[in-house]
């Protein structure tokens, strides 16, 4: 009964459209960009686009797990602002004891990761243990973190000490072999994320949980723990993104990270992850993030369409992506 050979053809054909869609869109954007502006494929522009994508990208990888497991997290933008605020305040407070140097930066990074972890843990706890809907919990925490950071900054801006900022700057602006750190970190997160989603029990359990929670429960999957895990993972990745973000401007305010949550969710959906859960694709998310930032970049470089229409075009892309996915499905 091993009809392995006769099997693979029909579903693969369907997969192709489904899988290739985002990739084709990305290629089309690159071709378009290159034909509109000679500098588009230049080192400076590519580095700039990728480095800016890194924050949303790192967060979107975590969001892929949350959405695959049937959840949603609206709080990540506010969370990033809050974590950045806490990180900056903690670093400023530690300068007298640690001085400006590597220990201060490392301590600040730990604070950011811990703050992200705590924030994710709180979301995860309320969702999986207390049993409140993810949308409600994260809508609430979105408001809470945003308000907290505004309060901490007293309505203004929290700035990192000038000397520390100078010391920390290279984490955003420097890199290895000409590739800047945010890009390297994003790449590592993306690869690990893809491996985790496709090749580990955690990834499989996320998909099972998103597809049918009852089946997962009856199959001895620790449903609460997996769900909690996705929010904690996302929280820590928000912390990591913040670590890369703070050296860029050296400050945080009430408007830091505005709408990041929606950009991250949009990237996940463009990448082919199912919003209802049950199926997720990390590499698709990476493609989604790149598509969104390329649109922005092209509009800024080429003056055909006003950059103010960026949001509109991104919106059309998101809707189009979902429509294409649906057609892929009904074709089978």
């Amino acid at each position: 009964m091993s009809d392995t050979t006769a099997s693979a053809a029909p579903p693969r054909r369907r997969l192709n459209l489904h899988v290739l869609g985002p990739v084709l869109a990305l290629v089309a954007l690159i071709v378009l960009g290159a034909s509109l502006n000679a500098n588009f494929l230049g080192y400076g522009n590519v580095t700039n686009v990728l480095a800016r994508s890194a924050f949303i990208g790192i967060i979107a990888v975590g969001m892929t797990f949350v959405i695959t497991a049937g959840g949603i997290d609206l709080s990540v933008g506010s969370m990033a602002a809050f974590v950045a605020g806490v990180m900056i305040m903690a670093m400023n407070a530690m300068i007298p004891t640690l001085g400006v140097g590597v220990p201060l930066i490392l301590a600040g990074m730990c604070v950011a990761l811990l703050a992200g972890l705590a924030a994710g843990l709180l979301n995860g706890f309320l969702i999986s243990k207390v049993g409140i809907e993810a949308f409600i919990v994260t809508l609430g925490s979105m408001g809470i973190y945003r308000s907290l950071v505004t309060w901490l900054a007293d309505g203004g801006t929290l700035s990192l000490d000038f000397a520390a900022r100078g010391f920390y700057r290279p984490v955003y602006y420097d890199g290895l072999l000409g590739v800047s750190w945010p890009i390297i970190v994003f790449a590592i997160v993306a690869v690990l994320g893809e491996l985790t989603m496709r090749h580990t029990p955690f990834g499989r359990h996320c998909a099972a949980l998103g597809a049918n929670e009852q089946v997962a429960k009856y199959s001895a999957v620790k449903v609460d723990r997996v769900r909690m895990g996705t929010y904690v993972l996302l929280g820590m990745l928000v912390g990591l993104a913040t670590i890369m973000y703070v050296p860029r401007l050296g400050s945080a305010s009430g408007s830091t990270g505005t709408l990041w949550e929606l950009e991250a969710i949009a990237a996940v959906i463009i990448g082919g992850t199912v919003l209802k859960g049950g199926f997720g694709r990390v590499w698709g998310t990476v493609v989604g993030v790149l598509i969104l930032s390329l649109i922005d970049n092209i509009l800024n470089l080429a003056s055909i369409v006003s950059p103010y229409l960026n949001g509109a075009i991104q919106g059309v892309i998101v809707i189009l992506a979902v429509v294409l996915q649906r057609e892929g499905k009904s074709a089978d």
Binding site: M1, A8, P10, P11, H199, P201, N212, Q214, A216, S219
Partner: protein, 502 residues
């Protein structure tokens, strides 16, 4: 029979393909007013497809449908419904959050000016339900109703639409014997009023009782159509399977002395009180009782799927409560009765379903995909799962093959004790026999099996000892020759009688 002349709905030489796979090979079928025409066959014989074509859900690839002697084509099910053709699905088409009345009138609400006429709809709904001897309040929500009552609402909905042709897909699969009796009486009444009825069931005794004519399908081919009178259950089974079915049940294995599972004073709040029993190595223990007696809840309490109090010991060691994983690691697994909602991820492929319960055996950090693939090959072979394509979704398997996949998934955890809840619900007789053989072989290999079933012949045929539950507690135990339908029913009803009428 002259059916072609008087038939309301007839189908000639129906062929249906799904992609390259042909599932119907030129099937004829007709429905006559005032007759019950039973369509029987094994799972995968093409019954569902045929019913969907007759009900307007699917179009035939070739062949022709005739309504009142005129060729028809239904572009969708709504069109068929407008002609009085109604299908009652195995999986109900009811909106759970809406009330009974709202469901019955969904899409054809009675109006009074611009507003809904609630009173008229409620009265009419109540009248329909009374006709069916079903006493639920039209204002209650579907989600609060028992499965049999939902079935009745589904039928009332069809009646409310003045069905001329009623297509019933295994309506009794979820009903108890008593509820089945009521349903069959209703079908009798519908038949007398001139409705043409297509009836399917895996329970051949029902077919004997209710059908005027019987058509047998096998592998998508029309085997025979004949009058039901004189068509014995044995002959039906032989026609369906295409070979003689020897003894349906294998010999009962003899249990050893060692106690592998000991349950003491287990209670599940609101469902089960103080249940205690033991299971020995190599034993097949039956659990019988009426629907709602608490059998499933007891089993779910034992394996940690429901909050429960009391003691459970597996192989002499106390089991950590409330953890399915701990139960699995101790060698105790539960195979759910609800394979579509709790057993399998219907949208996922076979491999992901197969290995979900025992995923840690395929690597703790990285999943070994080639080992998974090998496991699927073994499972397909060992459990005789008929797959068209190894990459197919579990939901595309027929019911019997889904059940085999679920069995394979459960056995991959290498359990010592297997609790199987309704092992053959909605499964054809050929597959049933395979599953019975499998259960007996399991026990013969020194594993222990608990079979929870509402089908008494199954419990009697498989188990050497039967525990009967009623109203949430263990009503009694029967073993050896004392096991009979009569004795089981008496134990089950003895305490359950008041509840039944409630």
């Amino acid at each position: 029979m002259g059916a072609a002349v008087t038939a309301i709905l007839s189908a000639q030489q129906i062929i249906r393909r799904f992609g390259p796979i042909q599932v119907l090979h030129g099937v004829d079928f007709d429905l006559v007013p005032g007759q019950v025409h039973a369509l029987i066959g094994e799972n995968g014989a093409g019954k569902s497809t045929m019913m969907k074509i007759l009900g307007g859900y699917l179009a035939p690839s070739e062949g022709q449908l005739f309504l009142d002697g005129q060729p028809v084509q239904f572009s969708d099910q709504k069109q068929a419904e407008a002609q009085g053709l109604l299908m009652i699905h195995q999986e109900f088409n009811l909106a759970l959050q809406l009330t009974v009345e709202e469901n019955i009138f969904l899409g054809r609400e009675r109006m009074r000016g611009p507003f809904l006429d609630h009173k008229a709809m409620q009265d009419e709904a109540r009248a329909l339900l009374v006709r069916l001897n079903c006493h639920v309040d039209p204002r209650s929500r579907i989600r609060d109703l028992s499965v049999p009552n939902r079935q009745m609402v589904e039928i009332a909905r069809a009646l409310g639409r003045n069905a001329r042709v009623l297509i019933m897909d295994e309506p009794t699969a979820v009903l108890t014997n008593r509820e089945t009796d009521i349903l069959l009486e209703q079908i009798d009444r519908l038949r007398e009023s001139g409705t043409a009825i297509l009836y399917t069931s895996h329970k051949l005794d029902e077919i004997r009782r209710i059908a005027d004519r019987v058509t047998v399908l096998r592998d998508g081919r029309h085997i025979l159509t004949r009058d039901a009178a004189g068509f014995t259950e044995d002959a039906m089974a032989t026609a369906m399977v295409g070979r003689e079915l020897s003894d349906l049940f294998p010999a009962k294995p003899v249990p050893q002395d060692e106690v592998v599972l000991k349950v003491e004073n287990l209670s599940v709040p609101g469902r089960v009180r103080d249940a205690s029993f033991t299971l020995r190595r190599g034993e097949v223990l039956g659990f019988a009782g009426l629907v709602g007696a608490g059998r499933t809840e007891l089993m779910e309490g034992i394996v940690g799927l429901r909050p429960a109090s009391g003691k459970v010991a597996v192989l002499g060691k106390p089991l950590k409560p409330g953890s399915v994983l701990a139960a699995r690691e101790a060698g105790l697994v539960y195979l759910t009765e609800d394979r579509k909602d709790k057993g399998l991820l219907l949208g996922k492929n076979l491999t992901e379903n197969l290995t979900l319960l025992a995923l840690d055996r395929f690597g703790t950090v990285r999943i070994d995909k080639s080992a998974e693939d090998a496991a699927l090959t073994t499972a397909i072979h060992d459990f005789d799962i008929r797959v068209n394509d190894r990459a197919m979704a579990a939901g595309s398997l027929s019911g019997g093959n889904q059940q085999k996949l679920l069995l394979a998934k459960t056995m991959l955890a290498e359990p010592e004790i297997v609790i199987i809840d309704e092992p053959t619900r909605g499964i054809d007789i050929g597959t049933k026999q395979q599953i019975y053989d499998f259960i007996a072989a399991l026990a013969a290999r020194g594993k222990s099996v608990i079979v929870v079933s509402s089908e008494l012949p199954e419990v009697i045929g498989l188990a050497a000892r039967v525990i009967v539950m009623g109203r949430g507690h263990i009503a009694g135990e029967l073993s050896g020759t004392a096991i009979s339908e009569d004795a089981i029913l008496r134990l089950a009803m003895g305490v359950g009688a008041e509840r039944e009428t409630a």
